[in-house]
Symmetry: D2
Subunit: 139 residues, 4 copies
């Protein structure tokens, strides 16, 4: 009964593009930040709250912090599997964690992104109180 | 009395960033398209019509066509000089041309971008009639 | 017996990412250039000549020209279908064409990319003579 | 006699490009990671060890960790001043810190990047022992 295993998670797959590589012949480190967004968007879509729906409801979630540890490099045409899940959310600050592996199981990156929620006017939104349905979906 | 020489022009300088290189150890070709935008923005600023002013006036200029010929490669830390000027503008379609050289004079790229003008609702704007001041600045 | 229909073609699908949008709330025009590369890579993989194999064989194909016409805008989460095929190839200069549509059939972009072939030392390669197997696959 | 103030530092300036903005009409968060690289490259150049020299000497410094806190947003045409300096370096792991402010003094981002050093074959390099001259320049 490990509660860790019962959390919602989503496995997103990204294939490294040629334009994501750099002169060191590996993926430029800034792209992992973009893949985190791709995986997050797919995860939110999967639980029924895609960005379009959030923005229609006037809910925006800027990134307020990133912490990203690069473990091994990847390069063009590598297929990267990104396990994304909610690490912590009590209604104000959403913490999402990411584990990226190559298909041979090599760990390439471990990361965390933190988000707040604001409405269209930039006012902070307490999701647990003002959007309880979304809060439950994320918990 | 070469009228070509009397056109307004602007020389913009871009230093190639590490993240702009790719696995072939040269600048990825997509970045030249972004430098064209950098140069265009600087040129419009120079003639007194920066994007901020244009957008305040509700004037947007999407790219409708690009034609870009790559002559020689560049790579990290190269300094690229981009000569930008209006090639053609009769009030509706703005054609801008770009000539990019390395500091040793090597031609690296010749390009053209075409733009139309729309207002905030997406309606086409005839700049010569509706924004004569901007039209004169570009001619 | 339309020979146009008998050419090899490949339909590649790209979903617009949030980081590909810009302040005009549409996809930034530079990204279409990157999608052309994605589609080209997938097409070459499909005919059995992926970039990895080409680079192993010491064959590189830099872009020497791009011509790209933007017909309609796209934005975040749009699914773009890119039809890619060889427009012309006589052994030296490869011309590839791209037609991009949204899923509702709206044409968003028509483009052409031109490529030459060089070996690891930068010497031009006549593919029809030096790599006849690859030449046949592309014809 | 605050030793913090006696450390080498470098102030790098980046003007936000249109293509760096996103649909939220602010700078996309992934770009700050790229600006950190721009600032780091300029800092190393300033102390006499530009990337070109490092790579000629067969010394590469991949990013092994990023920690980035976003304090306020920026947008197109904002001028961002990035103060970059060495936070910690004992010869193996280089920790660089970044403080980004708008010209009105608003803090926009605080970040740290961690780097190791490897040679062309990917073997770790103890900079304090194997490249004492570079080590002294960074201290």
């Amino acid at each position: 009964m490990d509660p860790e295993n019962t959390k919602k998670a989503y496995l997103y797959t990204h294939t490294v593009q040629y334009y994501e590589t750099d002169k060191m012949q590996i993926t430029h480190h800034s792209n992992y930040i973009r893949w985190m967004e791709e995986a997050r968007v797919a995860f939110l879509h999967d639980i029924g709250w895609d960005y379009a729906r959030l923005e229609e409801e006037g809910l925006f979630s800027p990134v307020i912090r990133l912490d990203c540890s690069y473990k091994n490099s990847t390069t063009f045409a590598d297929v990267v599997e990104i396990l994304v899940r909610v690490k912590e959310f009590k209604g104000v600050k959403l913490v999402i964690e990411y584990e990226m592996k190559k298909q041979d199981g090599t760990l390439v990156c471990e990361a965390v992104s933190e988000h707040c929620f604001i409405n269209g006017e930039g006012r902070p939104v307490r999701v647990n109180k003002e959007r309880p349905e979304f809060y439950e979906a994320l918990k």
